[in-house]
Symmetry: none
Subunit: 248 residues, 2 copies
């Protein structure tokens, strides 16, 4: 596995905290428990908890335990109606393309380099995958890093926050289910091309080009998602088409 283990465990913990019903204030299982359950050392779990602590999910009390704080991420069970995949993609299309355009005029050379190395990483992962080594976690986090990196390049903290919020939505169960498909069905090469095109526009500081490239990228993701919903998975379409914007 490419990623640092603590990040992997942290992702699983977050998933558990969002999916499962842990009431706010609950004491979570101990580090030792999780270590045993995930079959890693307590050190790794501890580091994962540190990540959650930094991100504001939990509070760690020495000698007592780890406690769930109010969730920073929007949780479907908070009474908010869950956002469907197509609706979320629409929102991302609108917002991220605008952010990309803005970033095109403000991105630094260092940030261009950072994005470039992310794409290098995507290329590597893709090659490995073709060799049979799949690493969904790594692919997913690289994808996210690229998109959030663009938001960061806008030099605007509010836009970064908004972009993060959009990506957090993937945690919802409904969405997670589809997400794997998108990154799996050998569309990864296509996404890489899209990302390269976006980066090229940012490099040229081409505002309109960046906007269009990002727009088309997400447009294509929507198309793929739509096509995938025609597969033979029973009950797959069921929830897809409840969303207002799903009727394309």
């Amino acid at each position: 596995m490419a990623q640092r283990q603590y990040q992997h465990i942290a992702a699983r913990l977050k998933q558990e905290l969002t999916d499962q019903t842990f009431v706010v204030g609950t004491r979570l299982p101990t580090e030792r428990d999780y270590a045993q359950r995930f079959e890693v050392s307590r050190t790794v779990v501890r580091e994962a908890f540190i990540m959650l602590e930094i991100e504001g999910w939990v509070e760690v009390r020495k000698g007592s335990g780890t406690y769930l704080l109010e969730r920073p991420a929007r949780s479907p069970a908070d009474g908010d109606e869950e956002i469907g995949p197509f609706e979320l993609l629409d929102a991302r299309q609108v917002v991220e393309s605008a952010i990309a355009a803005h970033a095109a005029q403000r991105i630094s050379k260092a940030e261009l380099l950072a994005l470039s190395s992310l794409l290098e990483r995507e290329r590597e992962l893709l090659a490995r995958e073709e060799a049979g080594q799949r690493d969904f976690e790594a692919a997913d986090s690289t994808d996210q890093a690229f998109h959030l990196g663009i938001a960061r390049a806008s030099q605007n903290a509010m836009l970064v926050e908004i972009a993060q919020r959009l990506w957090e939505q993937r945690r919802s169960t409904m969405w997670r289910r589809l997400h794997g498909r998108i990154l799996d069905f050998s569309y990864r090469g296509e996404w890489l091309e899209h990302h390269q095109r976006i980066l090229a526009m940012l490099r040229k500081r081409d505002e309109e080009g960046a906007r269009d490239a990002m727009w088309n990228h997400i447009e294509r993701v929507k198309e793929v998602l739509f096509a995938l919903s025609d597969t033979d998975d029973p009950g797959f379409d069921g929830f897809l088409f409840d969303t207002p914007t799903a009727a394309h």
Copy 2:
């Protein structure tokens, strides 16, 4: 000292990275070095590095070392840093203009009517104000209702949520202070004209027109805000120009 040592060490590391001149990309001293220097175990240093990694300061490479990334312009977890007025307006400009364009193709007749009646109300309030009856609260809430109404017209719950989040930011003390000025200095007539132009574009379902109208509206708000910062209010500019995007 912070409760957990890693936080203390992380703070010292950040200070060192800010003060000292470590060139971007430099390999930092090893975990063992810092452990010795700070007289703590390598574990603690390692946890501190994890914090820096999460916050985007450094990249950690197994077997190689820890490398300084471009210093994040704004560190995410340094406590929720307050967003400055110009930064917020930039974000609103980017996001709301994109939302307006999206809404232009989806707004319903009922929503057009609702927006129209909001403008009617703006007109009323303006007339009353000229007669000496000021009602800041009403003017403010009408303004917000118009902008959020457009977000709602996008038919996308996520976009509505984002727009709300943007408007919530005005409640911050720093921002509130300026906000009164913008709505007071008899710019209200101008804002009304802008809103009418935006609504007209939405009526025509003119995507680009709506985008531009919203963009120009907020652009003008920024100009006014900038001009107002030249007034004689002592300490007024002080905080305004600390924000990265303030240097127009």
